[in-house]
Symmetry: C2
Subunit: 507 residues, 2 copies
């Protein structure tokens, strides 16, 4: 991108917004990895102030003037040029934020603090009704928010558009209906097979070995530690402070080895996306979510999740991967894995076992957990499901889909942090990520005959380079569906995902 | 402090300024302890943006309006009330920043990046003239800055006032002249004594043991790890993100044990000051350096240094301390310290040995290093010393004061980072800290007869409580000299410091 002269002033304004939002990200990373307990008291204020400052900078008359000038300046450029997209996305974000009064933003921020505390207490006591009034308030404010930014068919549309622009309650219904229809028979077939051996996964795995293997794994996949680092946290995440400082986190469960291995692979996938964004986009609109006020280089939550799922499931949770790298894992844990073969390890980490907890779910049941949440949060948004009926509705859906009886709210409706932080509408992006990952892999495998051979030899740089040129480098320049069409020739399509799952879990 | 109604709006504005400056501090801490190499590229922009945003918030019409209202509201309150001081200090800071054009701030910030890179290269090649043009520019911009904020007798006055309000070139000359006259005979007497045994300080001390002892030491002195943490860095520092998140750093020299012990004690002293600020001052003007645009609870650089020096030198570098705690150190390093007595250890860590490097200097030569720098930077400011003559002038002063021949610029004029970061005028605060530490300790010992007995038993909480009530809790409410007068009945007085040094080093 050669910045055209008319963009200079706008880019300067947005660079400051990006700086402030990246600073907020550093404060969030620190609060989840390094901060002593005492720091929590004021950290929330600091992050809230930075977000408010970023919004004020975006909505200032100086930015408006720079944007007006830029709009005139880019008129003759191609519609999909970086310059046009910068102008378009900035205008869209400003219009978005103009529709939301500051008072509503403050009310949502204030509620978040209270709601999270209530959720933590409710979950520890497994009592939904401690949290219920705060969730009711969250739903009410989310509906206010949806009304501000506008919707035509369903209020849920407005919330989903924040995380996954282009998707609506209706589009998700279409996608999920066909996905569900394809998934259930595969799940049935997989459950009819005998359970593989998995005892060795639960042995004693000291943290140092897990960390050492995790770092090697991340580097093997192409994650650059000169531009990143791996730390410990409670709820693992990836966060970037520009493409040259992209951090991943994990947790080590001493008695369950897969958690850190696949968790690290997952966050590495997110990290690779951020590390691969075009350097020219640094500190621009194309590396900033100006609507969500979050400094991120990937183009949507779903697109981001597609990259983490791709590396976690298509690469690391594969027979090929463990045939190549199980000996290395064995070297890290000779006592614990001495009596295990690569094939046994692969079968153990791909066993299918329906359970109550989403984050522990296997590949076949994971999306059922998501669909259940989407069904519920969309019904909360349109008022057809009162908050008081939530536990009953949740438990009925788990019974319907997984034939399990939820024993308590902690393992049911209270398990996820999302709603308590004010996120309603983000759950669909997990399944969109799964679908997109398979669709992209399917295309790459079809178009590049050498790819499978490279993966068979552990040459992950071949895949990384494909993804970098086709997806990562574009940052937020293209919307998710546009990107997907450029790569695969079509919009979101669940067929390759179902084919992948069928091949992996029923043969 | 019960915030008077008229202060509410002002406090809200300043809270946001404080949040943004604390965010900048987190980014600085991260860049010096955690950040991967790649992050440096954009981190400087992020910190610069936050500082600019803080200044803009301070100079905004909303802050001005809130300040006008607050000024009217606090009129009847005592002159030294928190409320009056908040208003006064905020007004002073706004007037300060109004005098400095944004272009000059940007020029200084831009120069800093280039000058630091040049200084690093110059030092590694030990060639002053690589850095000289940038220093000349730094001096020129500092003089512009001094002219903006105004001075009457000497341009250096303006620079010193940023770090140590109340001090001037003239007041420093008076202080340093009597200090120097007292110091030289003590140094002469100390140097005439036989050197103690110190071989054991240079043995092999693995990092884990140093870290474990350092953490115990910090906690022993009263540092609260629930509101802090200890990390590794190249140039140790302390930084706070409000009183409940105060972080210290150190470095471990495997072949020189005292570096981390006394370094950790020093930063702990800074940390105790910040952890001890009145909670009511959190996010207010009284915990923010609105002139320096730095979120800090201590009242001046010198006052801050007095607390670090007090704990480092008066407490930890004392015979009593090692009589009590040397056995614990021995337990951490049984092989390395098995043949050493507490008295031998004490004598080794108080040996006097003039050298080229300020940060390695003993208590008797340290202030000579400072006076030399103050002489030079004040002559740079008034133009009587051209930058090109600097190495010659430096080496001549080292010869005069320490009778040493500087072998190269790296061990001479290029050893300190300060000037390359744009800091001219901060050096005097180190010696002010030494003087103030001794003056405070002398008063406390005189007024509180139980103090010495408590220290003899290692009950450091008694001293910490005295310092907390007399100094720390007041944050930035009182200026340094005002604080000193409240505690000791008079302004800065070098006599207790000279008496302390004489007692420690010549008997």
């Amino acid at each position: 991108m050669t910045p055209q002269a008319p963009l200079i002033a706008l880019n300067e304004r947005i660079a400051a917004v990006n700086d402030v939002l990246n600073a907020a990200s550093v404060l969030i990373w620190d609060s989840r990895t390094m901060m002593p307990a005492g720091g929590a008291e004021t950290r929330g204020c600091q992050i809230a102030t930075l977000t408010r400052v970023a919004r004020d900078l975006l909505l200032s008359s100086e930015t408006e003037a720079a944007l007006d000038e830029a709009e005139r300046g880019v008129e003759g450029l191609p519609e999909d040029s970086s310059e046009r997209r910068i102008v378009l996305q900035t205008r869209h974000a400003i219009e978005h934020h103009r529709q939301v009064p500051a008072a509503l933003i403050q009310a949502r921020a204030a509620l978040r603090t209270v709601a999270q505390a209530a959720w933590i207490e409710a979950r520890s006591k497994s009592d939904f009704f401690i949290y219920a009034p705060h969730l009711a308030e969250t739903v009410a404010l989310s509906r206010d928010y949806a009304d501000c930014i506008g919707w035509s068919e369903h209020p849920y549309d407005a919330m989903v558009s924040i995380y996954e622009p282009g998707e609506t309650a209706a589009s998700l219904k279409t996608l999920f209906t066909s996905l569900r229809a394809g998934l259930l028979p595969i799940l049935g077939a997989a459950r009819s097979q005998p359970a593989p051996r998995s005892d060795f996964l639960f042995r004693d795995y000291p943290e140092e070995g897990q960390r050492a293997f995790g770092l090697r794994l991340a580097e093997k996949l192409g994650y650059d530690l000169q531009r990143g680092r791996l730390d410990i946290t409670v709820h693992p995440f990836e966060v970037s402070f520009t493409r040259n400082d992209v951090r991943i986190t994990t947790r080590y469960n001493r008695n369950y080895l897969p958690a850190s291995i696949f968790g690290t692979a997952h966050e590495t996938g997110h990290g690779l996306y951020e590390q691969g964004v075009d350097p020219a986009y640094t500190r621009t609109t194309l590396a900033t979510d100006l609507v969500g006020l979050y400094a991120v280089g990937g183009t949507s939550f779903g697109a981001h999740e597609s990259q983490s799922r791709l590396w976690e499931n298509h690469i690391v949770r594969s027979r090929t991967f463990w045939r190549l790298h199980f000996p290395d894992l064995q070297r890290h844990f000779p006592d614990q894995l001495g009596d295990v073969s690569p094939e046994e390890f692969y079968r153990a980490v791909t066993r299918v076992e329906p359970g109550f907890i989403r984050v522990e779910a296997d590949e076949l049941t994971y999306d059922l957990h998501i669909m259940l949440r989407v069904e519920i949060e969309s019904a909360l948004m349109d008022g057809s499901l009162p908050v008081a009926d939530l536990p009953g509705a949740w438990n009925a859906l788990i019974k319907r889909d997984l034939d399990l009886d939820v024993p308590d709210d902690a393992r049911g409706v209270l398990q996820d942090v999302h709603w308590s932080t004010g996120y309603i509408g983000s759950f669909p992006t997990y399944t969109i990520g799964n679908v997109m990952a398979a669709q992209v892999m399917d295309t790459l495998r079809t178009q590049d005959e050498a790819l499978d051979a490279a993966l068979e030899e552990g040459k992950y740089a071949v895949l990384a380079e494909e993804l970098r040129t086709r997806i990562w480098q574009h940052g937020r320049r293209f919307a998710r569906d546009e990107l997907l069409e450029r790569v695969t020739g079509r919009g979101l399509d669940p067929k390759p995902y179902l084919a992948y799952l069928e091949g992996k879990y029923t043969r």
